[in-house]
């Protein structure tokens, strides 16, 4: 056990990753190592590339250059070990799909396509729904749920494949604070065994639930700590309202100089 703590196992590694859309560079030279049972909160201004980084990790976008390894494998193989909770998506509320079937989607990749669901798989789906407290609504159509309930179903869908890594994109963007608190508590519990990378605007949540904070504004500022350092402050300075209006706890900030200077 001690040994493991001393030499943490890297589950995600990116080396010199660049991503551009057309001529515009969105991510610049990203070097990130995520270790087992990390809980990283990614913050940064809109358009800073947070979602793009998650998409690159999932293979939804190919980096212009650089390399990404998931569990030491290529993205296409490695994403079998990842669970993904997308940003609140616009969808057809009439769509005929039940909560149970949505969660089942998480199992589709790494199984034989035609086999009927085994009883073990049914249990896994049931367990994932229980974890997010949605088991009593498993036969509901997804369009009948509230935003918070739907978000929990998407988390269950990501958990059902028993992932080693969980990627979340603004998991609480469309839910009220109480539900958000429940979701973060759930994530903290899961984090005992599962590595989590979470994109968030919610600075309160980021500062009180995550273990480390990274800041992304084209470049990644990440030092494997929970402190928001001076360079990160400068990187996120484009959106200072979030930081100040939410009354960010002082312990998160290493220095106030930069803030004072810029305001003066």
């Amino acid at each position: 056990m001690v040994n493991q703590d001393l030499t943490p196992k890297a589950v995600i590694e990116t080396k010199n990753v660049w991503v551009s859309y057309d001529a515009q560079t969105v991510l610049e030279d990203i070097n990130l190592t995520v270790n087992e049972t990390d809980f990283i909160g990614l913050i940064g201004p809109n358009g800073g590339g947070k979602t793009t980084l998650l998409k690159a990790l999932l293979g939804l976008i190919k980096p212009t250059s650089g390399e990404i390894r998931i569990m030491g494998k290529t993205v296409a193989e490695g994403r079998c070990y990842m669970g993904y909770v997308p940003q609140h998506i616009e969808f057809d509320r009439q769509f005929p799909i039940r909560v149970w079937e949505v969660v089942q989607m998480g199992l589709l990749g790494c199984r034989k396509p035609f086999a009927p669901l085994s009883s073990a798989e049914r249990e896994v789906i049931q367990y994932a729904l229980e974890q997010v407290e949605m088991d009593n609504l498993s036969q509901r159509a997804i369009g009948e749920l509230s935003g918070g309930q739907r978000q929990r179903v998407y988390i269950a869908r990501a958990l059902v494949s028993n992932p080693q890594i969980l990627l979340l994109d603004e998991p609480t963007a469309s839910v009220d604070p109480q539900v958000a608190g429940n979701i973060y508590e759930l994530l903290r519990r899961i984090n005992q065994t599962v590595t989590i990378v979470m994109v968030s605007h919610d600075m309160n949540a980021v500062s009180s639930y995550v273990k480390t904070i990274g800041c992304l504004n084209r470049k990644l500022h990440y030092h494997g700590s929970k402190e928001v350092s001076k360079d990160m402050m400068e990187a996120i300075y484009e959106c200072p309202i979030d930081l100040i209006a939410h009354g960010l706890p002082h312990r998160v900030l290493s220095s106030h100089e930069s803030e004072g200077e810029k305001h003066a």
Binding site: L58, G59, L60, A76, R79, C80, M82, Y84, P86, I89, F91, D92, Q94, F95, P96, I97, R98, E101, V102, Q104, M105, G106, L107, L108, G109, C110, P113, F114, A141, I142, G143, E144, R157, S161
Partner: protein, 279 residues
């Protein structure tokens, strides 16, 4: 009323109605929930190129339509997948080119094309037994593929990004789905004609979707509704001496309108009830 069943062509018509309804109900459900009505309309019209090709080569036009329809399904499907926002423009162009090719082929084919109108406007009363066999085979193909890939098809229809991330072969399944749409188009063409195919494929699932929120039930209800519309339309056209395809479509259209109004009034009553219980 029962005396009409003594005619062989009437029994064939009814059998064709049932067979086409099965394909339409199942595949139409995917068309509606994937919101690819325009794409499917494009496939239907481009199939006319195959009719023309059939006449020109002197083979069964239905065979030509199957080939053309699969080819245009693959073409339009790939365009839809790869070009994003403006794909509807390209699909519209392919739609027209398919029809134009058909017309030119027909110009170049010698002889009198008596049954050409059949393909444009349908003729459920003129379905030969050989076509029933083709329909049966196509139905077997459609039902087997849909039941094998039911979960995958539901997944890519609902959230293709997530499906891709869990390594479901989204592109291949999508192309399979559009090919199944192409086959269904060819079958349905016999009944209501390629101009009105898209209406028979989409109205029953659209109605079913108003009342059920489960995909299997939506398919089952669509099949039943489609059978009901075909039979009712066929009877009306027989007794009122009207064009069968158009009558079937109008029956479906009236039913769609009525169910839409029922749904609206149900929602209104529900909202009022909620308001009352809130007060």
């Amino acid at each position: 009323m029962l005396e009409i069943f003594q005619y062989g062509f009437m029994r064939n018509a009814l059998a064709a109605g049932v067979l086409v309804s099965i394909a339409c109900g199942i595949i139409g459900t995917y068309v509606v929930i994937n919101r690819i009505v325009f794409l499917s309309g494009g496939i239907a019209h481009a199939a006319y190129g195959g009719i023309g090709l059939g006449y020109y080569l002197g083979i069964n036009p239905v065979l030509g339509a199957i080939i053309f329809s699969i080819a245009s399904s693959l073409g339009m499907g790939m365009v839809h997948r790869k070009t994003g926002q403006r794909s509807d423009t390209i699909i519209g162009v392919m739609w027209a080119i398919g029809m134009a090719i058909g017309i030119i082929f027909l110009d170049m084919s010698p002889g009198y094309k008596a049954d050409l109108m059949t393909y444009l406007f349908g003729s459920i009363l003129a379905v030969p037994a050989s076509d029933l066999v083709i329909m049966l085979v196509l139905n077997v193909i459609i039902i087997s593929l849909v039941s094998l890939f039911y979960r995958q098809l539901q997944a890519i229809s609902f959230d293709e990004t997530f499906a891709f991330v869990v390594n479901v072969p989204v592109d291949r399944l999508y192309l399979m789905l559009v090919c199944l749409i192409g086959l269904t188009v060819v079958m349905t063409m016999r009944i209501v004609g390629l101009i009105m195919v898209i209406a028979l494929m989409t109205m029953p699932p659209a109605i079913a979707g108003l009342f059920v929120k489960d995909m299997k039930r939506m398919m089952a209800l669509s099949v039943l509704l489609s059978v009901l519309f075909s039979f009712t339309g066929l009877m009306l056209s027989y007794y009122l001496n009207l064009t069968s395809g158009a009558t079937i479509i109008l029956v479906a259209g009236v039913a769609y309108l009525i169910s839409f109004l029922i749904q609206k009034s149900r929602q209104k009553r529900k909202a009022e009830a909620n308001l009352q219980s809130a007060n």
